[in-house]
Amino acid sequence: METVGFLLDGIFTSLQWFNLVLLIFGCLIGLFVGAMPGLGSVNGVAILIPITFIIPPTAAIIFLAAVYYGAMYGGAISSVMLGIPGASTAVATVFDGRPLAVKGEAMTALTAAAVGSFVGGTVSVILFTLFAPPLAEVALRFNAPETFALMVMAFATFVGLGGDDVPKTIFSILIGLALSTIGLDLITGKPRLIFFNIPGFLHGINFLVLAIGIYGIGEMLWTLEETKGKVQMSKLSVNMKEVGRAFGALKKTIMAMNIGSFLGFFVGILPAAGATPASLMSYGITKQLSKNSKEFGEGVPAGVVAPECANNSASTGSMLPMLTLGIPGSPTTAILLGGMILWGLTPGPLLFTQEPEFVWGLIGSLYIANFFTLVLNIALIPAFLMVLRIPFAILAPVIFVLCVTGGYAPTQSLHDVWLMLLFGIAGYILRKLDYPVAPAVLSIVLGPLAEKALRQSLILSDGSMGIFFDISEKPIAAVIMYIAIVLLIMPAFGPLYRRFYKKKQTA
């Protein structure tokens, strides 16, 4: 019952006029960002975070969460109309959304996507409300060793479940951590890694510099290369009859909605996974379980509903570990977590007792944001189609202006703008060679927290690493650590398993 009271408070908080205006504004920006090919929630949140410094944290998180949410809805628009995913989270939406548009049923696809997103979003917010308070209560008993073990597990998930090249993934994690050690050492106070004695390095590298560099500049370079500034759009007729017919077609997608919502939520909780694999997985599973699985890929509404349900559900799911454990579940939540530190909050379970307005305001706003985004999405489809006609050659410089100003604003130093540019170019080149970039962003955010937790644990144990592995002393930390080790060595067994399997088949 207590939860219901908190939730109602949270909903009222998010309905205060200032928060509500920011929420609607955030939904609109999110829809826009999601709809633009190449830009997704992570880019929107990274570029916009510097402008949230002057508003209260609750309003800031409501605004950014709305952007995150809106982008999940918006991604479907360009997947359907252009055949280019608006964001990586909407890749699976192209599989059936594009064929529907080619058949002249674009409105069915867009309505299915919007309703699917709404269902996924709502189910996951309810799950979130149920799971968050008990998880936070458990997490309250966590000390430095447990926190450090959790962070190691977050890094290990990238290696075990990320599916990218293992040395390149570990490199990405380590470079993020190494970059986070630049600046003054928090225990001895000594300056570390001050290259060429440039004073700008003394204050360390703000995670935003890396995030905006990679997700702003780097992503724009990537998209410029992919599209070369040109895109081709499908025709669309919008009338109420079409919308009505589209709703009728949704009756057959209930199974897809269930799979997408529940699978999405639980995949979203995992640190490495996030919305992209969630949407791909639920598309695959829905296809396998469907009676007419052969029609998938030729344009069935269920093929649009499943991934759209899942990506919204996963985006909410990824906020669960961010709020309760202080461990982000996706690159976007990693940036949100960094934002929380910049706003002066301490991420983790204490937020639930110390900052209930912030936590419940965010949870309440998710319910409201879901509703507004559904309405805005369907009502503004013609407007978003106009947005998609904006040539990339005009959009790109505007994003660059936002990146440069956003990179400068937090520390007011040009040094950071140079670094951001450098990270952007390096990130673009590394991404072309299949180095995953998300682990670096996650680890530069978690780096200082992980170092603090590690050093506190070692002070507790008089310098012995055994504190992380002793089941009788610290059972939770030890179990988490052993899971992390399993995740780390898992990729090594992949080739062995395949070889064994092949032998068995040939035998």
Binding site: I51, L221, G229, I394
Partner: protein, 204 residues
């Protein structure tokens, strides 16, 4: 054979791996300026974490190089160009103009640099008219100014152009009423737009 064809994915992969390995070694050397030891008696040295993190990076790059030599990674067998010629033009011009933009910000200040950056970028890549480009290049910095300096109260770098902004600041923080300030904001956007519009009409 153009330069973009010479840089294949294969060559880029090994070149990047070697550069990253060298960077890791440089990081290790730099970390060693602080104490990199750690044992039960002494606390962890300030250089300990960065040193071993960069050692880990070095090991990862060596593994990447070994995979390359053994032809185990997809990039090690890929003879396609790393980037095609058309895209290369886009990327190279973008990167160079961004570098020039940041250089110019330090000297000219952000607002004037942005005018030149936007004008150049749109002229080079889009097929928009001169009037559109001029209006766009002028109104974007004005909106940036209003947003950052007025709404957020975050000063952006102004370089040598700083004295030009003193009268604006006097106005912003002077005792004018809200209505007067709003009219000023609207005029700062509308006036240049109208001016450019009329000038281009007149020239035609």
């Amino acid at each position: 054979m153009s330069i973009t064809n010479k840089i294949t994915v294969k060559r880029a992969e090994i070149a990047v791996a070697v550069i990253l390995a060298l960077c890791s070694i440089a990081l290790m050397i730099k970390s060693a300026e602080n104490r990199i030891t750690w044992n039960a008696e002494e606390n962890m040295g300030a250089g300990f974490l960065p040193f071993y993190l960069s050692l880990g990076m070095l090991i990862c790059t060596i593994l990447t190089i070994i995979k390359f030599v053994l032809k185990r990674s997809p990039q090690s067998k890929d003879d396609n160009p790393f980037i095609d010629a058309v895209a290369f033009k886009f990327i190279a011009v973008t990167i160079i103009s961004l570098v020039v933009l940041v250089l110019a910000i330090g000297y000219l200040g952000i607002y004037f640099s942005l005018i030149f950056f936007l004008a150049f970028y749109l002229r080079y890549f889009s097929e928009k008219s001169i009037a559109f480009i001029t209006i766009f290049a002028i109104t974007t910095p004005i909106l940036t100014f209003l947003f950052f300096e007025w709404m957020l109260k975050i000063p952006l770098p102004q370089g040598i152009s700083e004295p030009l902004f003193y009268p604006v600041y006097d106005f912003m923080y002077g005792g004018f009423s809200f209505a007067v300030k709003m009219i000023f904001i609207i005029l700062t956007v509308v006036l240049p737009t109208a001016l450019v519009f009329l000038t281009t009409r007149f020239i035609k």
